[in-house]
Amino acid sequence: MATVSQTHQPPGFRDVLFARRSTVVALVCFVVIVLACYVLPTLDLTAIGKMSVRNRLTPPGADYFLGADAFGRDVLGRLLVAGQTSLQIGLGVAILSSSAGIVIGLVAGFFRRLDTPLSRLIDAMMAFPDILLALSLVAIFGGTVGNVILALSIVYTPRVARIVRASTLVVRELPYVEAARALGSSTLTIMVTHVLRNILSPILVQATFIFAYAMLAEAGLTFLGVGVDPSTPTWGTMVNEGRQYIDNAFFLILFPGVAIALSVLSLQLVGDGLRDALDPKLNKET
């Protein structure tokens, strides 16, 4: 344990978060992507969604900065709008699965009697490979954005719940939590004020990764034919639509592909940075 022997104060959250150049770059990159998707379309620099079938598959150039798709729609404009949906899916899954995971994990960690059944349930849910479970769920619910978010949240909830439970088990034994209990604080108060505050950081890290995985999973589901229906643009549906033009218009899969890869990569790097910053024990990795 490299840091144990150090006597000086551990570096602050921000110092650690920004110490690694890759984290900073990733964070900037992700913020730029988000801003682009949400701000640029409002400026109406491009006629988004306007079809001009005769211009289909125009390569990137002066008329279409990133080219035109099979309907003669501007790829850049579509990329930005699709990005909103893809980011919503990622964020939606991250928030939903974290919230559900926190509740389940806290309950399991706090109430001994519920721990075993809940833990076994978590184990059972985690035994299903994520794409396989998501595929079945979306097939059953139907391919809308909301259903994809719901299905992926069901897939990732146990992962969060497991982490929350483990952290709760540690935190509940900490002296000041014991003290709070001795002072007569209610279980709910203790759970919310003490435990939750303490376990927020691992959850935040996990949520960042889930955000990334959900965006990847969405693309995968679309490829398998059960994702969001193609009339709703997401980066996943764009890549998938572009597949058949791989010969004549490679840019149709290139740009949304890059958008997915960049977002997922930067989220993962940010997640790494967050983990290091929030958990000083892991500082040795830098």
Binding site: L132, G236, G257, L265
Partner: protein
């Protein structure tokens, strides 16, 4: 120790029953009448009603559930609506490509990731360390079907180094079949090597920080020998762990990879089943794959338990 083993075993049985329950509930959630679905559009309501009775779909739900679990534990997962064959026999036919694909890609992933991970840990903070970690993450950030499509396109169709798709056909011997798995395995292996690389690197860093390694260093043992003698010997445990961890990841990836390369494995089967609304097959695959995962997890834990006596339970 016996007590620990017993506890693990009981836990496993409970988890498998829960897996069955989840799969049961999942398929019950599906809209539409399974009997009408099985008979197709031309069926009369009377025919549908007759089939419902025959399939026991009109029984109380609790009875249906009990029958389902009872049959499943006896190894009967029902019959495919599309193939009119027992789900278990279909799954048995489809297991080989998936198992080989998972093993081969695991092999490729270990082959790529372990040395790089060790080296990256050894040279931590260096440009090589950072770039290898980042590129591994990048590889894992690209949707795997894209990687597969590009590989298929370039390495198989254009360069002709590998078969493009399929599993070799009726008279393919084991070598031909394995030949058809090389490219899919590399595709899947690359995607999954990121996790293994990071895991190896992290556990190497752990070990390099251990007292006995520092002692060895302090005694003036050359770094290379420190790595090979002490550190590598202890990297075995994390690798076993990661194998268990990546199983689910491999199966998930296999679904997409099998689709790209048209391999007749369980992943492709389940996607087809979804597109054909063949619920018994979806259900059966979920159950079998989840149960295998549970067993592998148990096995890795047990190996862990026997190898590493330091672990306290």
């Amino acid at each position: 120790m016996a007590k620990y083993l017993l506890r693990r075993f009981v836990g496993m049985v409970v988890v498998i029953i829960l897996v069955l329950t989840i799969a049961f509930v999942l398929v019950r959630l599906a809209p539409g009448d399974p009997a009408a679905l099985m008979l197709g559009p031309d069926a009369t309501p009377e025919e549908a009603a007759e089939l419902r009775t025959r399939l026991g779909l009109d029984d109380p739900i609790i009875l249906q559930y009990a029958t389902f679990v009872g049959n499943a534990l006896k190894g009967d997962l029902g019959e495919s609506l599309f193939f009119n064959r027992p789900v278990t026999s279909i799954l048995a036919d489809r297991a080989e490509p998936t198992i080989f694909l998972a093993l081969m890609s695991l092999f490729f992933a270990l082959f790529i990731a372990t040395p790089i991970g060790i080296y990256a840990a050894y040279k931590r903070g260096s440009l090589l360390d950072q770039s290898s970690v980042t590129s591994a993450m990048l590889a894992a950030s690209i949707p795997s079907f894209l990687t597969g499509l590009v590989f298929q396109r370039v390495l198989a169709t254009n360069l002709g180094w590998f078969p493009t798709a399929g599993y070799g056909g009726p008279d393919a011997d084991i070598w031909v079949r394995l030949g058809h798995l090389i490219l899919p395995s590399i595709t899947l292996g690359i995607t999954n090597s990121a996790l293994i690389l990071r895991f190896t690197r992290a556990s190497m860093l752990d070990i390099l920080g251990e007292d006995y390694v520092r002692t060895a260093r302090a005694k003036g043992m050359p770094e290379r020998r420190v790595i090979l003698r002490h550190a590598l010997k202890n990297a075995g445990i994390p690798i076993i762990t990661v194998v268990g961890l990546t199983f689910a990841l491999l199966v998930s990836g296999a679904v997409v990879t099998e689709r790209v390369f048209n391999l007749p494995g369980m992943g492709n089967l389940v996607v087809n089943a979804v597109l054909r609304r063949d619920y018994p097959v979806i259900q059966g695959t979920l159950i079998i794959v989840a149960s295998i995962y549970v067993l592998i997890n148990l096995a890795t834990d047990l190996i862990y338990f026997f190898i590493d006596k330091r672990v306290k339970y």
